[in-house]
Amino acid sequence: MRMRAKILLGFLVLGLLLLFSGMVSYFELNRMGKNTREVLEESSHNVELSEKMMDALNEQNITLMQAITLDSPRYDTIFYSLRAKFDSALEEITQNEDNLMEVVSIHSARDSYYELIEEYFRTPERYSIEEFAEAYSKEFFKLSYEVKHYLDDSQHSLKNGIIELEETAYRATTAGIVTLSVTIFIVIVFAFFIDIYYIKPILEINSGLDGFITKGSSFVVKVEGDKDMESLRERIDTLIKMYVKK
């Protein structure tokens, strides 16, 4: 291989390594950015749905108290619309397969809460107000506890996403660091080869020529390893011999 090709190829390898390192880091960082957005969106969506459920539950609680104390059918309509609001939020969470295990307990608490209220509406004479209040507060707090617990759980489950993000960040930076280290190593080896195959021979040829011109000493220079440099030395040697002959 000729000198020009060797040096060009050397720089090309270095350039490609840097490009490769940049590309890997770019793709990994891009992926990290996408994952971060997904994690944050999931988190904010879960918080939003939990809040929606909590609001609907609290409003149901107030409406129910008004319905019992004021005994007006107007509150029944409001109560059932709030119930629908709660159910739609729960339905949305249920559709998300990741949360399926966690929402089972909310479903169960909601069913017993609804059952108690329905039973009271159907046969109010079965309960004294104290008995109902006691049974109701138990079911209400159980349901609100499950909703809050779901919120906590969904926030904890984000931890896995964060760990994944950490690993992606590690890969993005390590790939860059390792590639740069290898590139630095190759630069050192490249400099070493250029020095021994090109710089040293040129200096020796120069020194040999200097000796011939200033002191008239013979041109004895040993060049090994690179064909172009060997050819240069031979041509100079031939030129000198031609000059001496003349």
């Binding site: 790939a175 390792v178 080869f193």
Partner: protein, 481 residues
Amino acid sequence: MRLPIVFRYIGMILLLNSIFMLISAGVSLIYGMDTAFYPLLLSAALTAALGAFPLLFVEKSEQIYNKEGYAIVVGAWIMACFVGMFPYLLWGGEFNISVAWFESVSGFTTTGASALTDVEALPHGLLFWRSLTHWLGGIGVVMFVLVIIPTLGKTKMTLTSFEMSPLAKENYPYKAQKLASILLVVYLTFTLSETLILKLVGMEWFDSITNSFSTIATGGFTVRNKSIGHYDSLVIEGVIMFFMALSGVHFGLIYATFTGKRRNIFRSEVTRFYIATFMIAGLLIAYNLWDNQVYGTFGESLRSGLFHSISSITTTGFSIADTTLWPPLSVLIIFMLMIQCACAGSTSGGIKSDRILLTIKVLWARILKQQHPNAVIRVRLNGATQEETFIGYSLLFIVVYLFLIFVGSIVVAAAGYDLTTSFSMSVASIGNIGVGFGEVGPTSSFAVATPFIKVFCSIYMLLGRLEIFGLLHLLFIRWWR
């Protein structure tokens, strides 16, 4: 010394490594492009760039000198370990620089010690690469290149002589080209045979391939946290025991046996000594375990005793039981086997049975000489008279080896580990065994070691793999001029 020539040959070895990284990336692809795919691919590209670079500039040289030969062999081992840690580092997980370096050195030197707490968490591609480092290191990273590149001429002869232990050359009455081919034929035949047999007895393809790599290289990496104990199968253990024992025999002798040569396994007194050692040790351990009621029956004691005897003497380091619970006599016998090790010319590390038998013979000759001062007593090994210089070298090796074990134990103990753990780490590292007692027993790993101890143990592994003197040459700077 001509450094460019050294770089050129190390470059060839790195190129070979990059091919094997690509093969591992292929495995990763087969297993649904697992998380090791990109790290392996990037590592292969970096290693290929490192290896190909010197080949661009340095012309082929027909003749290399002694110093260059040493530098190529030692440099190749160090660089192979260096690039070998790229896939681990790039993958992440439990790997940081010290763990990745430790795992890579442990793989290439066929030590099999792991600094991981959960091996099963690694993706298939990375597990395959981990076992492949054993397989490459078992035959010798330099030897591998010598086998696959047929046009190295005299260089092949010089490099073969540096890569191979002086003891191992004894049973190879062949030319360098033939010798390298014999090694590869025996190595490949064993690996293929074990893989097929393990598959036939019920192991999955991936497990049987990776376990075969480890067994034939007498390495010790497995793809399961409980090592071979995971399979809990007497048949699998039997197959692995057979191949471990076989891999501890001189490969040249195995080849000679199969080709009907006179100088074969059955005529080799070193092989007989090696087999007798692990059989007697296995029986002694079995009796000791049974006597101390560690296991319910003598059969169970024999199963564990014999498996761990073979695993220790061959420096494989597989385990099927928690040996840290064993009585002191069994532990001491295992330590003795870990120091003696198998035959020269095999893939095992350590002092080697050849040197131990030679020492016994020298001792016997010395006693006879004292009784008969005028007698001419020759020390013979495998029927050949041993020269004084060779005997001196062997004895010096044993002394330096034992001295290094003690120095290693002191260094590890100084880092705060107990006596058993310190001694275990030192013996397991320099002997390329990988598993010991105390905190580095079969149920734990070198994960307990500090980064300094991990690096220290990895240097010991390289010292053991290069038979001490190979690596020590690097320390004598004046010699380089």
